[in-house]
């Protein structure tokens, strides 16, 4: 009723189609949010009670009530650190090369298109590549480093693309200012371009890592173990990770394991949310610092 009254104020002839469109997109929006909310609600309903200190500090077990995610969250943490150490220098370096050094020729153009395509390749393909290259040829076995290298390959295109975007957004008049003072090209990159594009690069890195932390398929493809009752000792240790643990629990028939899986998902979602929020926060913080 109220809605119709509001509608009457408009000339239906001109505003009619606009309003219909508005209502339509609102409906779609509500539908999408409702779906997401239902999914989250069902996970929380199943798993919330399982989350406690013991769940976070116990190794997995045959007894679902005793099982915990210690080895998998520590594995995920190590994996993310290693992946970052490998992918960040490579990705940012490649982005600087493309933006500041690469000549505009067909080869570099082809590389650019390739990187764009690689960002959209299904993650299982990276897993198969990791299996062939790191696990088999380089004989790294199913180790942390093999997993990290595989995930690094997966997020490399994302980091390159977002870093290039950030570097391109550094105003050219800033670079001209430095060059006119007698700065060399590498000095301009070090003192102007990297500091000024840092918030954007950082955001890209965090978002890429938050994607990597949820990836299951490539780790399963390289054969990461699902049952590990110890913490990795070095980069050549076998490992497990949160998504693998969740995958493993979901495939069990017992309902209690499904509760564990739901609890694991809550932890994983919380970490992802935390990462994404810190990306937004850090970008705002550095933007304010730079623009002051």
């Amino acid at each position: 009723m109220f809605f119709l009254a509001a509608l009457k104020k408009y000339n239906l002839q001109t505003n009619g189609p606009n309003t219909v469109f508005l209502i339509l997109v609102m409906l779609f929006f509500c539908f999408a949010i409702a779906m997401l909310f239902m999914l989250l609600a069902s996970i929380f309903y199943d798993g919330f009670l399982r989350i406690n200190w013991q769940f976070l500090t116990q190794f997995p077990s045959r007894n679902p009530q005793m099982a915990g995610i210690l080895s998998s969250w520590v594995g995920s943490l190590y994996l993310m650190i290693l992946t970052g150490i490998i992918a960040v220098p490579l990705g940012v370096g490649a982005a600087i090369y493309f933006e500041k050094y690469a000549k505009k020729n067909w080869f570099n153009h082809l590389m650019e298109i390739n990187i764009g395509t690689l960002a959209g390749v299904p993650s299982i393909i990276y897993g198969l590549l990791g299996l062939a290259l790191f696990v088999r040829i380089m004989s790294l076995d199913r180790s942390l480093i093999a997993g990290a290298l595989t995930l690094a390959l997966l997020i490399l295109p994302i980091i390159i693309i977002s870093s290039r975007e950030a570097i391109r957004n550094v105003p050219s008049f800033m670079q001209d200012g430095a060059l006119a003072l007698g700065a060399t090209r590498s000095q301009v990159i070090k003192t102007i371009i990297i500091p000024l594009s840092f918030p954007g690069i950082l955001t890209g890195i965090i978002l890429a890592l938050s994607r990597a932390i949820g990836e299951t398929a490539p780790l399963i493809a390289i054969g990461a173990l699902t049952y590990i009752a110890f913490l990795p000792e070095n980069i050549l240790s076998p490992f497990t990770a949160l998504p693998i643990q969740i995958f493993n629990w979901i495939s069990r028939p017992q309902a209690l394991f499904h509760q564990n899986a739901a609890a694991g998902i809550i932890v994983l979602i919380s970490i992802t949310l935390l990462l994404n929020m810190s990306a937004v926060f850090l970008r705002d913080y550095f933007d304010r610092k730079n623009n002051k």
Partner: protein, 252 residues
Amino acid sequence: MEKYIFEIKNLNIYYHDFQAVKSVSVAIPPHVITAIIGPSGCGKSSFLRSMNRMNDLIPNSRLTGEILFHGVDIYDPLISEVSLRRRVGMVFQKPNPFPFSIFDNVAYGLKIQNIKDKAMIAERVEESLKRAFLWDEVKDRLKKPALELSGGQQQRLCIARALAVYPDTLLLDEPCSSLDPLATAKIEELLQKLKKEVNIIIVTHNLQQAKRISEYVGFFNSGELVDFGPTKEIFERSEQSMVGRYIQGIFG
């Protein structure tokens, strides 16, 4: 004493197929302000930017002819554009201080020369800010971000930043075009004082400004240097000439 700072012989500048500067030959005397005037797109900025090789940065730009800076061909392959730019500074149309503190902006040119002596840097920063008539306004807030300054102050900061590396010549590309009349007057006053220490070449499309501050003036039109000489003479020339008509505001 040398007769000229810059001797330019038959200079042509091209972007792709477009010729921005057409066979310009001119010699620029020291210790004066030389103004370059002309309508928009006449090649005066290209001309200016060729003198510290900032034009090299534009993709597909090409240059023929010779530019001698104190008798040295600056486009000689043995000459590094980096060391040239340390001697021939530049101030741009839009004030472009770095998003650092006021102090760090002025110190930038020294830091990239690997000067580490903090006392010397501090001394040079103070001296440069004083030379740019900015010291009294900023001495209590050197650690504050440069972008908090007003437009006119930012432009004087850019001048201070350029002065800090002790350039021989300062190129200014329409430095006042985004400033209000008061800020403009301050910069003109500053340039008058600076010309005793630094050679100044300024591109402007404000004719009154050229008349007020310069000793020599060059007039560009569609890539050619139509006239060059002492400012007084040029401004007194026949009203029938193209320069005269431009100066009168009849075209351009």
